[in-house]
Symmetry: C2
Subunit: 263 residues, 2 copies
C-alpha cells in the first residue's frame, strides 16, 4: 500500500540512485525546504502521470551524500521499458541526483524494512584540495592514524551504540550489529568504512568525530573503550561535518524480486 493513500497499487519498483547532498535539506520531504525525496516525488509524479510517493532506505541529514541509496514507489501502470524510463527521468532530474537502476520488486519489498545491511563511507581530505570541497572533511592537522585504526577495530566488539546516538532520537533500541569498521588511505585522503545491519541517527558522524579526537590524542584507546561502554552521547566527541559522509550501500535479500515476471 502506498503511504499517502489507502489504495494499493499494482506494481512496486526499487530505484538505485546517487546524490550530492550539498544543496539539499537532507532526504526527507519537507513542506518548504528542498529535499531529495521531495525532488523525486515531484519528478516521478509528473513523469508517470499519477501521484507517486517515494520511500527511501533511510533518512540522510542535510549535506550528507549518497553514492548508493535505494528508494521504492508504487505505480498503477506497469513501466514498459525501465531502461527508457531511467534515461528520461535522469534528464528531468537535476544534475545533483543520478538514477542508476530501476526494477520491479514484489509488493512486500520495502527499501527500509527489507534491508539487511547498510554501509557508509567518510572521507577526510588530509591536504587542501580544491576538487574535494563539499565532498570531504578538510582536516590538515596532525593525526595518529594507527590509533584511529585500533579504535575503529574496537567498534566490532560492541553491540550497543547508545553513546553515538542523538539523545532525542526516537528509537526503541540502540543495538547495531557492526560488521566492518576500518580506515584506508586513498591518495591524499583517509577514508573510513563502516557496515552494519542498521545505524542510529547521527551515528557515523559521531563515530568519525570521536575517532578523529583519538587521532588528535584527546582520548586514549582506553578512554575510547570507556566512551563505548558509557552509553552516553555526552562522553563521545563532536560529530564530524556532513560533507564527508556518504551512504554507500544498502543490501537486500534476493527474495525482493520473487514472483515478478520480468518483461
Amino acid at each position: 500500500m502506498s503511504e499517502t493513500t489507502n489504495k494499493p497499487k499494482a506494481h512496486r519498483y526499487f530505484v538505485e540512485l546517487s546524490f550530492d547532498g550539498s544543496n539539499f535539506k537532507g532526504w526527507q520531504v519537507q513542506p518548504k525546504d528542498r529535499t531529495v525525496q521531495g525532488e523525486l516525488i515531484e519528478v516521478f509524479s509528473k513523469f508517470f502521470r499519477e501521484e507517486v510517493y517515494v520511500i527511501g532506505a533511510g533518512r540522510t541529514d542535510t549535506g550528507v551524500h549518497a553514492t548508493h541509496m535505494v528508494a521504492h514507489f508504487e505505480l498503477d501502470a506497469r513501466i514498459e521499458s525501465t531502461e527508457d524510463a531511467l534515461y528520461k527521468l535522469n534528464r528531468f532530474l537535476t544534475t545533483e541526483i543520478a538514477l542508476k537502476r530501476l526494477y520491479e520488486v514484489n509488493l512486500e519489498a520495502h527499501t527500509r524494512f527489507s534491508a539487511t545491511e547498510r554501509a557508509y563511507v567518510y572521507r577526510i581530505a588530509r591536504v587542501k584540495n580544491p576538487f574535494s570541497v563539499g565532498q570531504a572533511w578538510s582536516f590538515q592537522r596532525d593525526l595518529n592514524l594507527s590509533a584511529m585504526k585500533e579504535a575503529a577495530a574496537m567498534l566490532l566488539e560492541y553491540s550497543d551504540f547508545a553513546c553515538f546516538c542523538k539523545a532525542d532520537a526516537d528509537v526503541k533500541t540502540t543495538l547495531c550489529d557492526v560488521r566492518a569498521a576500518y580506515w584506508e588511505q586513498v591518495g591524499d585522503e583517509w577514508v573510513f568504512h563502516i557496515r552494519a545491519d542498521r545505524f542510529l541517527r547521527n551515528m557515523v558522524r559521531a563515530i568519525v568525530g570521536t575517532l578523529v579526537e583519538v587521532g588528535e590524542g584527546k582520548h586514549t584507546l582506553q578512554q575510547f573503550k570507556e566512551i563505548l561502554e558509557s552509553g552516553n552521547r555526552n562522553e563521545a566527541g563532536v560529530s564530524a561535518p556532513a560533507e564527508g559522509l556518504y551512504l554507500s550501500e544498502v543490501i537486500y535479500p534476493d527474495s525482493i524480486t520473487d514472483n515478478i515476471i520480468h518483461g
Copy 2:
C-alpha cells in the same frame, strides 16, 4: 626583473598549485573579473607586504582547472620558512586554490619560458554522476572508444597543429612536439591524456571535441587525418567544454634551482 616595475628583486620563487577553475574567468589577471592570477597577486602582496607580481606557466581559459600549475614571483626579502608561508598562504586563499610546493629558484628561471613539457588531462563522465558536475564533461551518448584511441595515436605522427589553433591566436608557429596522446578508462570516466613541449590556445579542447566526433562516427579515421593535414581550424570539430580540462603537469630542468643556497 619583475614585470610590473623595473626594479630587480633579490629572490625568485616557484609555487606549485592546483585550482578549481569553475568560478574564475581563467588564469590571467583582469581589471574587473575574478581570475586565479588576480587572487594570487592580491593574497601574496598582502602576505609578503610588498608588491608581488605572479607569472604562470601558461594561461588557462574560463572554467579550465589545474591539478598542477606552476607560477613564479620575486621578493625583496627572502622567505624564512617556505613551509610556514605555504601553510599560511593556503589559509588566506579561497578553498578553490591549493598551494602545494614553494621553493626558491635562480633569477633566470621562468615558469613559462623555462618549461620543457606540459601535460593536460580531459575527463568525460560516461554516466550521470552528481560528484563530477563541473569537473568532467557529462557525455552519455554512444561513442566508439577504439576509433577514438586510434585517432589519438595519429596525433603523434604530426607536428603542425594549426587545425586545432584558435584563428585569432597571436602565435608565431603552430608546431608542437606531441609526446603522448591516449585515452584510458577510469571507473565510469574516459580520460584523455596529452603531453607536449607546448600547446596552442584552445588546442586540447579542439582535439577532444574532434576525437569525440570521431567516436560519434561523424568523421572516419581517414577524415581525421585529413583534418590534421588541412591546417584549418574550420575543418576540426567543436571544442569540448572547459569543465573537463585540467592542466596536469609542467616540467622544468633541474637547473632552475642551480646556485640557490637552501636555508
